[in-house]
């Protein structure tokens, strides 16, 4: 079994009276694709925010590549090779798509010319090269999400956290996105995906972690998860509540 790249231990966070994440522990190994699933409000995005330094955990530790990164600022976390995308894409709206991507590549390439060339590469990777000169704010939501991935990849991370990048995609687009993620792994990247599109998570992930109400209720290979009665109950429960 390969080394542990990300080690989350006993992570907890509450907002006022709401316990968003409680005593959460899991590991990500180098080179794997880990899926994180759970009903709405189960703490997936909060977990990303805690790992990447946007929130400071109440308790618990995050270790990345053998070093304690708990409480580091987001840019420090990113500089160490751990980058995330946002569920609601946050482009820099008033500048071009290319310049948006450059904001990522400038991290490792201070020379703007080199950064621009690298930015074109990542745009090609996500299929946005034709829109390089459009204003990012005028992209469709789906293209903005692509840009989000391109910008993150531009920082040349070791671990990529994707927050629901596939929501709202058509079937062909989902397949495309899955191919992209699989190809990223081929390049040596480790990926964590938070996703509602079950087909994608089940096919893509090596392992899956299931969250419910801020805690981990199951972890295992996709087939095991699909057969886990507690997971089914959590999802069905959520469905019942919604009805």
């Amino acid at each position: 079994m390969s080394e542990i790249l990300l080690d989350v231990q006993g992570l907890s966070k509450h907002f006022g009276g709401l316990q968003a994440v409680l005593d959460l522990s899991f590991q990500v190994r180098t080179g794997e694709i880990l899926g994180v699933i759970g009903p709405n409000g189960s703490g997936k995005t909060t977990t990303f925010n805690l790992i990447t330094g946007f929130y400071r955990p109440d308790r618990g530790h995050v270790r990345f590549a053998g070093q304690d990164t708990t409480g580091l600022r987001p840019y420090d976390v990113c500089a160490r090779g751990l980058v995330r995308t946002f569920q609601v894409a946050k482009p820099f709206p008033a500048i071009s798509v290319l310049r948006n991507a450059m904001m990522g590549t400038l991290l490792r390439h201070a020379d703007p010319l080199v950064a621009e060339a690298k930015a074109r590469d990542v745009l090609t990777l996500v299929g946005l090269e034709a829109r390089a000169h459009m204003e990012a704010g005028s992209l469709t939501t789906i293209d903005q999400r692509r840009l989000e991935v391109a910008r993150a990849l531009g920082t040349e991370p070791r671990l990529l956290l994707l927050d629901e990048t596939m929501a709202g995609l058509t079937l062909t687009e989902v397949s495309e996105a899955m191919r992209l993620i699989a190809s990223l792994r081929e390049r040596g990247l480790t990926v964590v995906v938070v996703e509602h599109v079950m087909r994608a998570v089940m096919n893509l992930s090596d392992r899956i972690v299931v969250l419910n109400q801020g805690t981990k209720i199951a972890e295992g290979k996709p087939a095991e998860i699909a057969a886990n009665p507690e997971v089914i109950r959590a999802y069905l429960g959520a469905e019942y509540q919604r009805a």
Partner: protein, 347 residues
């Protein structure tokens, strides 16, 4: 036209070349104009006006680095201006150091002051930031007034008059002052251009548009803003030294006052923030206006000049909330377009 449309790209390239040629010609003409300008003016008073314009181009340009590109609306730049002016003048008076040297020392002093200010203020956002900068500059003004053994209190400081002494940055004609001020202004604009194209320039734009997204891709926003503030403070301090040297007299209320902070910021805002030429345009407009009202009312009606000044500000903001430069540019583009058509539309 139809012929070149078939080749597509080359049409664009030809047009690009012609526009660039035209732009180069305009730029050359502008530079020549700036160089001979003082000789065209009827008397030294008008030279004084253009010197003030150049100094305010430098000040507005310096503010623009943090206020325009960095999107951090400082209303405390008088702190840097005053620090430069006071540190330099105190050194000149106490140790007879040449202002050519204290010019740099004054800039560095302002830069050093910017470091704690950055640490304190960049934790704050929006109006909190603006008001904290006002508070710090005001506190500094009151302290300068208070420690009169050093600063001479409300009376302010004077630069000892040495006649024509180029080594001491003093001249008996306004011409040398003009050219030095132009060099200062040009230096600020060139530095701005360099900064705009550097990693820092890109980062400031990113931070201004979405700070969370910027931090997520590894941009240390506090550091970038701190660097921009330091650069801005240094240039403001240098301009402050030069201003003191040129006017011979500085007062706490003038050099550290809120009025100075507002004037510095205004130049960039009226012209257009976050652009290289905005502050230059703003300084020209504002100074022309300020000086012409001064001639018009000759100081007979206290308050009237500044009242009209405020009126101009309010009008510009109602009319062009993003400054005059964007409007000026579209007007210029139309002009270039017409020139192009006149010089023959087909290649």
């Amino acid at each position: 036209m139809a012929e070149s449309a078939a080749t597509g790209q080359s049409d664009l390239a030809v047009r690009g070349k012609r526009v660039r040629g035209l732009e180069r010609a305009i730029a050359t003409a502008a530079i020549l104009f700036v160089l001979i300008l003082p000789w065209l003016l009827p008397n030294p008073f008008y030279v004084h006006i253009v010197i003030m314009m150049a100094i305010f181009v430098a000040l507005g340009g310096a503010w623009n680095i943090i206020g325009g590109y960095g999107g951090q609306l400082s209303l405390g730049h008088a702190a840097f201006f005053g620090t430069g002016a006071y540190v330099s003048t105190l050194l000149v008076n106490a140790y007879n150091i040449s202002p050519w040297i204290t010019l740099w020392i004054g800039g560095v002093a302002a830069l050093l002051l910017s470091l704690p200010i950055g640490v304190i203020c960049f934790r704050l956002q929006g109006p909190y930031f603006t008001i904290a900068t006002i508070g710090l500059a005001e506190a500094l003004r009151l302290l300068v007034l208070h420690y009169r053994e050093i600063t001479n209190g409300a009376q302010g400081l004077t630069v000892p008059f040495k006649g024509n002494a180029p080594l001491l940055l003093q001249f008996d004609s306004k011409m040398p002052y003009y050219y030095i001020a132009v060099v200062l202004a040009a230096a600020v604009l060139l530095i701005t251009r360099r900064m705009e194209r550097s990693r820092l320039g890109h980062y400031l734009v990113a931070i201004g548009q979405n700070q969370d997204a910027a931090e997520a891709v590894g941009i240390n926003s506090a550091k970038a803003k701190g660097q921009a503030l330091a650069l801005s403070a240094f240039l403001t301090g240098v301009a402050g030294v030069y201003y003191a040297q040129y006017t011979y007299v500085i007062h706490p209320d003038g050099a550290f006052g809120l009025g100075m902070s507002i004037q510095i910021a205004l130049v960039a805002i009226v012209g257009g923030v976050g652009t290289i030429l905005g502050p230059a345009l703003g300084a020209i407009i504002m100074e022309l206006f300020v000086q012409s009202t001064q001639i018009l009312f000759a100081g007979q009606y206290p308050g009237l000049e500044l009242m009209v000044y405020g009126g101009l500000l309010v009008t510009v903001i109602l009319w062009r909330p993003r400054g005059v430069l964007p409007w000026f540019e579209s007007w210029y583009r139309r002009l270039v377009g017409r020139a192009e058509r006149v010089s023959g539309g087909t290649p």
